[in-house]
Symmetry: C2
Subunit: 317 residues, 2 copies
């Protein structure tokens, strides 16, 4: 059954892709098999992260970048991640409106992701969706995030090119910097460039760029855009292609992939080991007993952890 | 030596407290002993979290709440956490200014915490500082956070009462809700209540409060304040005391402590187990070999993790 669904995804069936994404997102039984199979059929998609504060015009930019890719005959998968969306009727509505514009094009598939309970799982689920898009044959996968938290940083880590969008108002530049967004930026977009303060903001970012110590020899370009007027988009698209070329030629592409795979394996391994330790190696009553001792201040949590660890070690020696 | 420092903290020496905090914050050799000793001398401090977006007036509120506690002859430790401060000269300057006002009072000790590299460690370091404050004899520990991220949620989890501050402007209410702040609020403060939209914001929050499904029978009060005019502070202080009474009488205080201790022990244990597995049980070349196989798409990361896990299991069986 699951293999059938995976096969249909590989055959290019959109409805099956949609169903497979839901399975993976909701961790429905059998999702593991789908990921196993589809992972092995991927590897060609290029991942672009587009992140920035709410209201910076990210959705419009994503649309226009997508159009450029479509013009070249490429296929694009979009994951719009909103870790905050349980309450954000507005943002979701925005996505719906947008989806009507692009959804007509068979080269595009858009999926909105939102927290369903666990924040921790959102970045993971997003990366899993990109595995499905990759297997489906997407040339580009665009991950759109609202950004400052760990979820966004995790997602950026899974992207080959990260575009950070800021706007000349409400101290967004400062906010973005604070959040370490500049640290992850490969390209910076100053959107709404017709607004007052845009030039000053670009200059500040230019200045900070000069201060930044970077291991790589890529220095992020700062691209002025007016997304709703379709201005600066060609230049942004060129910047993305330049970075893509740089990433591929410099060997960063392969290095990044290795790092991503390694951290994914480690993450999976840790989850397995954690539950193995909890269920097999550590008597449940032992932890509770230590909690009680700590509560009575007989030992500190540090000593309690030490003792439990020694117990586990003695069982695995 | 370390014990001497710990003893001086217990004896109420402020300079030693300051040195001990630095040791713990920077993970300097010997910090573990200090935490061990001081943890066992704590247990009496009540932890109050005050969180909200930048510019909501948190610092002023913290000052005034602190003054109320001082009026009652209580001692207060303040940890101001700014996960974003590598770039926030402004915010830090604000703290400095404030510190001059309160630092004169010997019943108060203020410490600003900022990221030094790792975001992950910030919540942990903050909780550790509260262990020191507790041992030092603080009656209240106030943790001030800017917030939306995982760091803030982790810190809120370590607090007995969490106050969420919002202001009637720039869609803060929506932002705060989005970020799940409402989920952690025990008390909500609408600060700058003289501004337009304050009443509407309070009503919205009241409405949401009604919708909220909660396991507990505490429903957060919404407190209007004008911190800079010292208005509404007595009512806020009363609300904090009411919640404190509720927490203690309902048994939540002890339940929370147990949960906090348990998760701390688990966290410590996981760190130990992770490095044990990496260094002792898992041949380094094995992980690298699996990464290469995944890179060649021979196996998925999921299968690779499975195989490594089985190997580890066979060594611990």
């Amino acid at each position: 059954m699951e293999n059938e669904l995976a096969q249909k995804v590989l055959a290019g069936d959109r409805l099956s892709l949609s169903r497979a994404i839901s399975k993976v997102e909701n961790r429905t039984a059998g999702y593991g098999d789908i990921l196993d199979i589809l992972f092995r059929h991927g590897g060609n998609a290029y991942r672009i992260g587009i992140t920035g504060p709410p209201g910076a015009g990210k959705s419009t930019l994503v649309d226009q970048v997508t159009s450029r890719a479509l013009d070249l005959g490429k296929k694009v998968g979009i994951v719009a991640v909103d870790p905050t969306s349980p309450f954000s009727g507005g943002a979701l509505l925005g996505d719906r409106v947008r989806m009507r514009n692009l959804a007509a094009h068979e080269g595009v598939f858009i999926r909105s992701m939102a927290t369903r309970g666990s924040l921790g799982g959102l970045a993971t689920a997003t990366k899993d969706v990109s595995i499905l898009f990759d297997a489906f044959g997407m040339d580009y996968i665009i991950m759109e995030t609202i950004g400052v938290g760990q979820v966004e940083l995790d997602i950026a880590d899974a992207c080959d090119t990260t575009v950070v969008v800021v706007v000349p108002e409400s101290g967004d530049s400062i906010q973005a910097m604070k959040a370490g967004l500049m640290e992850i930026a490969d390209i910076i977009v100053v959107n709404k460039a017709d607004r007052e303060g845009a030039m000053q903001l670009a200059c500040e970012l230019e200045f900070i760029s000069g201060l930044r110590q970077s291991a790589s020899d890529w220095r992020y370009p700062i691209q002025m855009t007016e997304a709703i007027h379709n201005k600066g988009i060609d230049e942004l698209w060129s910047a993305i292609l330049s970075h893509m070329e740089y990433v591929r030629k410099s060997g960063h592409f392969e290095t990044n992939r290795k790092r991503q795979i390694k951290s994914r394996i480690q993450e999976l391994l840790e989850t397995k080991i954690r539950s193995y330790v909890e269920q097999e190696l550590l008597p449940r009553t032992r932890l509770d007993r230590e909690v009680e001792r700590v509560l009575r201040r007989e030992v500190s949590p540090f000593q309690a952890a030490d003792e439990i660890f020694k117990h586990i070690q003695s069982r695995t020696g």
